[in-house]
Assembly symmetry: C2
Homo-oligomer: 134 residues x 2
Amino acid sequence: MTTFTLDERLRRDGIPICKLGLCELRLMNDRRWPWLILVPQRADVSEVYELTPLDQAMLTFETNLVAAALKNVTGAEKINIGALGNIVRQLHVHIIARREGDPNWPGPVWGFGKPEPWLDEDHKAFAARILENL
Amino acid sequence: MTTFTLDERLRRDGIPICKLGLCELRLMNDRRWPWLILVPQRADVSEVYELTPLDQAMLTFETNLVAAALKNVTGAEKINIGALGNIVRQLHVHIIARREGDPNWPGPVWGFGKPEPWLDEDHKAFAARILENL
């Protein structure tokens, strides 16, 4: 049985916030949008339907918990949820706060422009607010 | 209590395939990608976390059922799943079959180029294959 190891690109592109029952919760290091990622700590899974039924239910629970927290913290107009994985095959779920006029609105965030890294103190404060709202 | 009515734009952009326990399953009328949509038949819901816990579990089940069928039918490299709703606020989940070299690969499909409608006999045959695999 293979052990779970976080994909190298996911590790590089984000900042860890905490571990939930199934997933590691991470902040994408791109302050253009409040953008969180959930990574189920399961080896060799690319598609949501490859998870066990219990893990599928856990992922839904954790996705919706995080989405509601992100909405509370940001007051976003719309939460975008996506599991694409065309580039990084390790299963991960994007949860992004969107508002009218943000970069590429109303289009998707993936592949648009260049990331703008968070300042150290800012991402810590943001992560703390997410944790308070979980 | 408001009754569910399918959003006008979702109606216009897609072709009905069938109704599942919670959702209406539709084919986007854009043959550039095999692209399905699930619309929970619930009024006034924009975010997945606004569904009841039972409906959330049903949506997960139906999403994964359809995603696995789409993978079987197309042999896609990757299934993309997304709930965005920046334009159409009625909750709907995109389930798209992707392969290397398809339009905008490895970027997202949303907002890219112009839809190419299916031919009538082709979308019927495709829908039939999806139904066989559910």
